[in-house]
Symmetry: C2
Subunit: 239 residues, 2 copies
């Protein structure tokens, strides 16, 4: 029996991150069915006939956020396949995806009437999620932290147009550090293909208006954005 090939069902679970009010937030849903009915969980869904898992994830992402998935950053985190991770039969194996979205209004009273909402990652990590979603969330956030250094995904947290101050806030919130404003400004404006100035300006409550930028073509950030070494109390959260 234990040597037999397993037949499993596959799901794609989403860790959709955004920044709201200076806090890293994740989209969670309240489960309406067993198992773990009433508990918070990551959104996700089953693989369907004609699609691959990336398409499953993109479909779910669109359903949950109301935004075309092509406009958001979406990448695999990993596969979670422990035999005991889901009590259902046949075995349920999931592929976790990291999605990054700007601060957008959810379709709360939408057609599905899903109880999807943004919750601060820190809060969710202490209250706990269903299944092994705590582990998935930790892994996805750690992946996002690492990718910020070498790839240009930080712009995915911002809207189409954004200021350098908003981009800096992305790094500061996700890494839990404070960065030097002048140096950050020089660094990102000089990184080739990272930012494209739109020419527009955004008035600020009090102060000089900030120039607006759009995301450039580059996917890789060269040279990388170095993460400060000293100010890193985030390590303690790791596995």
């Amino acid at each position: 029996m234990s040597r037999a090939r397993q037949t499993v069902t596959l799901t794609a679970d989403l860790v959709i991150l955004t920044i709201r009010d200076g806090t890293l937030c994740v989209l969670v849903v309240e489960r309406g069915n067993e198992p773990f009915e009433g508990r918070l969980a990551l959104p996700g869904g089953f693989l369907r006939g004609g699609e691959n898992l990336d398409e499953t994830a993109a479909r779910e992402l669109c359903e949950e956020t109301g935004v075309r998935a092509e406009k958001l950053h979406l990448q695999q985190v990993g596969v979670y396949s422990d035999p005991e991770r889901d009590p259902r039969r046949p075995r349920v194996v999931t592929c976790a995806y990291l999605a990054i979205a700007p601060d957008l209004p959810l379709p709360t009273a939408g057609s599905d009437a899903r109880s999807a909402r943004w919750a601060p990652v820190g809060v969710v990590e202490s209250t706990g999620l269903a299944f092994d979603h705590d582990q998935i969330l930790r892994d996805a956030v750690e992946l996002a932290r690492a990718e910020l250094q070498f790839r240009t995904i930080a712009t995915a947290f911002c809207g189409d147009d954004f200021t350098i101050g908003e981009l800096r806030e992305v790094y500061e919130v996700i890494w839990g550090v404070t960065l030097d404003k002048p140096n950050f400004h020089r660094k990102v404006t000089e990184a080739d293909g990272f930012l494209v100035p739109t020419g527009g300006k955004r008035p600020v409550a009090n102060g000089r208006p900030a120039a607006l930028y759009r995301a450039g073509d580059a996917e890789l950030l060269a040279p990388p954005m170095m993460r400060p070494r000293s100010t890193t109390p985030e390590r303690s959260r790791g596995r």
Copy 2:
């Protein structure tokens, strides 16, 4: 039908890399069954009852190389789930793993009498593999290239004890570049936790004997090993 939950079988496929005679090589097997009978493919196997996919991969790795999987580097690359990737029913979805091994003798005439053998990655990429294994191989090699910069996995290509010249060869072969010997030496010996001197020396054919090192505790290489920008004709191979 297309909206129905799919039931699938899961496999773990392995991209086992090593360096032989100054060439990056991958372990391939000749398929003995349909589909793709007689074609070359990556080794892999089905998920079994009591195990998760990481354990499936570790078991296969041990079977193919004859080495305890804990001694080798093993990590997920990604999930490949296109509906047409495997003609069998039920659908076969695979999770690809990257494994890194020192140049070791294969159990060729072993119990299983598997036709496993090392083949240069460049040759395999031009002759082609079964299924979507060409894509998997490209992704795994690209992952290895990227990870070399920031993690200490290069030591996994070496034996227990190795010289700095051997370690430098790992970088040069995988990146397809030549690195400055003195600068490389200083860089890796000063990186905290990367190398531990054993005190031993290895005589060389012609020249001063090289000091021997073992892999240190660090997983992250800080500061990272920067990959030369100019000498990179490898990009053209990408997807």
